[in-house]
């Protein structure tokens, strides 16, 4: 079984500041890793995914994440946030052989003017 831990439930940050949202996972098998974003009253939108290859993954809206196998982490970063980045961010994993996603509890990112 897999599990995902998002250590920060809320992250307030000022506009144009950098941000890192933390995600750690545990699994007995190799996994695929994902970050989803949820804007108010909308569904989950994929930001980026790690399947294999380069451990630094770039996604939409200027976000990137780095897969660290030894630390079982997949932290999400953005060098300069905008007000429009205010949303809930979910880290998720799926076992390589199956498709079900296991989600973390989410991190609410609030960008302050």
């Amino acid at each position: 079984a897999q599990s995902v831990t998002q250590l920060d439930s809320q992250v307030p940050v000022f506009e144009e500041a950098p941000v890192e949202l933390r995600c750690n996972y545990s699994s007995s098998v190799s996994v695929y890793l994902f970050w989803y974003v949820q804007y108010p009253n909308q569904g989950l939108q994929l930001l980026l995914k790690y399947l294999s290859g380069s451990t630094l993954v770039k996604g939409i809206n200027g976000f990137e994440a780095e897969f660290n196998k030894s630390q079982t982490s997949f932290h999400l970063r953005k060098p300069s946030v905008h007000i429009s980045d205010t949303a809930e961010y979910f880290c998720a994993v799926s076992p390589g052989s199956a498709r079900q996603l296991t989600f973390g509890s989410g991190t609410q990112l609030t960008v302050l003017p």
Partner: protein, 116 residues
């Protein structure tokens, strides 16, 4: 841009009643999923569906739940006899068979189910 749609956006029902939540996946996708999120809790996997049968299901997906693809476009989740603890946001998702959509699940906006 193609998207997953769900109806209704909000469903209110009495405990013990049957509800059907509807989803229209992206048209060329072949894998379909239901997830739910109880208020304040994690998004949880319920079931995945491929080739007209369930391919995976979680412990949550007991005999009260069923899924169906009644025609070429809809994918439904039925809860036979709703309980108070079924109150949650239910998300439908779909993914493709190959290419870039193979490992990406596209989510709908959700149906908020309230059981009174």
């Amino acid at each position: 841009e193609p998207e997953v749609t769900q109806t209704p956006s909000h469903q209110v029902t009495q405990m013990g009643q049957e509800v059907i939540l509807r989803c229209v996946p992206i048209s060329n996708h072949l894998y379909f999923y239901w997830y739910r999120q109880i208020l304040g809790q994690k998004v949880e996997f319920l079931v995945s569906f491929y080739n007209n049968e369930i391919s995976e299901k979680s412990e949550i997906f007991d005999d009260q739940f069923s899924v169906e693809r009644p025609d070429g476009s809809n994918f439904t989740l039925k809860i036979r006899s709703t309980k108070l603890e079924d109150s949650a946001m239910y998300f439908c998702a779909s993914s493709g068979l190959s290419g870039s959509s193979y490992n990406e699940q596209f989510f709908g906006p959700g149906t908020r189910l309230t059981v009174l």
